[in-house]
Symmetry: C2
Subunit: 389 residues, 2 copies
């Protein structure tokens, strides 16, 4: 069995990049990862690109070849992967499996999205491509609307409070203060969240991750090559699962079944548990999703996510630091890039070289990337020790 | 090393399906493959879906989860792959690598496209997402325009005639006569091609594959499971390569470098040569591409493709039968489905159970699927004997 490690990572500033194209951002991210790994780009044998909707955002599909072309990596194979907001983690998982298959020893996985070239309303419509076109988009549902339904149900069923939802955003903004690549680097308060404009009751503007441009990239190698690198961060577990695309078809509005299935697989492979994994990057596209994810990943029992947040357990010095660099809320959420950005942040934390962003003593970390309202869920666990040692 | 075999396949009628959705077509194709393999759908461990532009054609991304949902296969992992017109072969290759990685023993690879829900002009614009948005689409180039440049250059450089181009379409239409799932089931003549409306000089309407709705699916298994099936068709070689997305950046307009690189890999893996492989499915999106592909795959020398066609060598009884069931021209070209449809046709020919479509004595076959004007090229070789025996 081949083991796989991440040996380089980087991401661009996540922002509204009015003057930069998807190509520019992707190239910058790729160069950052190559530089971080101290490799020659010519050693990369295949490229995996996560992107959700460049066809609609900028009129460009065929993003695998475009990235290989722009990076001067022709003629290596290039694959674009899409699973809505989980496109980044999907590209990462396919890159991992590409090495495990014995086909490659060094590959790059990247993710990107250029969202600000269209009007905000068009962006919202485009994002609904992640939902069920026939049963959700066509009747006018938006993503914040769908997550609002989940939030309201969670409040009714488990007594989760409006304030607890706000505390998710407060924690993420605080964590982003020292993240120079974050879109929003300022602290907010619970009061500020509660007074921000209502978007879809009960969710307010400061519960929502923003529209963002950005790209991220990582370099993966097989165990055969890992010895050449100083601080390989090993992939200890990888799980992926699917659920119904339409929310109304699910057994529960307050639980992401696919996350539970994907996490179970990743925990089993890694030999770790929700208790023993040190930190986590979770998919806070809306504040409610961070609370649900904390539960679905097993950090607390179902229904207790709000209290877990309120007790400060997700803080950088808490029991289970979550989104230690700002999460989707404060770093921004360039759809296809997010899953790779999460892996970058876990990699740096595990390496222990993250400067002001460093959380003390991190040996293992989990990244949870969710597509749509949970129709795709992908969980990776990374750590400093090679699997099975 | 794990070996991988195709044990079930099927595709829908390729047509303008005004009254059917992408879901319907995908589900039908999946059921056909499951029935052909005589398996229970519940045994499928992962799903790979090739699709180019559902986001723009029907407002729906997240097609992996959608297919798993519609097929009742939740919670298995589902991956959407995109490489423009090579999306189908890309999904097939990722499915193959998924099994080779040891992650799965039985997976489904499917491809689909629903192109007729938009106006023809919008379809043409959407298809340019396969080209270079900044350098080609933005200045008004269309795909037929790009291939017309290649055709004209091929005629000037190698003396390829207008009639030879027409003979490609004539052969494909003849081959589709007995293919009940083909969009066009009637013979045409060279004269008819030459009198069809000029689209982009020198290419005429009957040089062009049509706008089509359709879906195709195959079931793949590891060698561990292959013994359970009567006629496993083994994947002997798989190659993929990239080239510049923009045509003007290439060394040559008359050679697809990526096809040559991908084919070399597939030939080497399989131990076969252009001379010893029995039949081929090639990517005749426009007639010139079949001629170029015949050359790039090594069936004849560069520049001699036109003469090869004229001499009848690609006919069902010729030296190297090509597109024996009608090709993209006559079967139709629902973008994401085509690469999987090619594998279906090779599988049936190798199994020797293809009824009126059967070519005598086929033991091996090659499928060549091309994205854009050749920025992605993927070649698979399949055969009746397990690799290395």
């Amino acid at each position: 069995m081949v083991d796989v490690a991440v040996v380089g990572c980087g991401y661009t500033k996540f922002d509204e990049h009015w003057n930069r194209s998807l190509r520019d951002l992707s190239t910058e991210a790729g160069m950052l990862a190559i530089k971080d790994a101290s490799i020659d780009g010519k050693d990369i044998q295949a490229l995996y690109v996560g992107n959700m909707s460049a066809g609609r955002f900028i009129g460009q599909e065929h993003l695998g070849a475009l990235a290989a072309d722009q990076a001067g990596l022709i003629p290596i194979p290039a694959t674009r992967c899409e699973a809505a907001c989980a496109s980044g983690a999907l590209a990462f998982r396919k890159a991992y499996m590409g090495i495990k298959s014995g086909e490659y020893d060094m590959v790059m996985a990247a993710g990107s999205e250029k969202m600000t070239d269209v009007k905000g309303t068009d962006a919202v419509a485009t994002l609904m491509g992640a939902g069920d076109q026939e049963w959700e988009s066509a009747i006018g549902l938006t993503f914040v609307g769908l997550y609002a339904l989940m939030a309201r149900r969670h409040m009714i069923q488990y007594g989760t409070t409006r304030e607890q939802l706000a505390m998710v955003s407060v924690n993420n903004h605080r964590n982003a203060l020292h993240n120079e690549r974050a879109q929003f680097r300022y602290e907010i308060t619970v009061d500020k969240v509660l007074k921000s404009p209502l978007i879809a009751d009960p969710l307010r503007m400061l519960d929502c991750s923003p529209i963002t441009d950005g790209a991220a990239a990582v370099v993966l190698v097989s165990d055969k090559l890992a010895g050449r690198f100083q601080n390989p961060v090993w992939i200890l577990g990888s799980g992926q699962a699917s659920d119904t695309v339409a929310l109304h078809d699910r057994q529960s509005l307050t639980e992401a079944m696919a996350t539970r299935v994907a996490a179970k697989k990743a925990y089993e492979q890694s030999g770790l548990t929700p208790q023993t994994v040190d930190i986590a990057e979770v998919h806070d596209c809306f504040s409610i999703n961070e609370i649900m994810s904390i539960e679905d990943l097993g950090f607390c029992r179902k229904g207790e996510g709000g209290k877990f947040v309120e007790a400060g357990k997700i803080g950088r010095d808490g029991e289970k630091p979550v989104n230690t660099t700002g999460g989707l809320k404060a770093i921004g959420h360039p759809i296809g890039a997010t899953g790779i950005r999460q892996v970058c942040d876990i990699t740096r934390q595990v390496r222990g070289d993250y400067g002001k962003l460093q959380v003390h003593g991190v040996k293992t970390g989990l990244a949870s990337n969710i597509g749509g309202t949970g129709a795709t869920s992908i969980v990776h666990i990374l750590g400093s020790e090679r699997p099975g040692r």
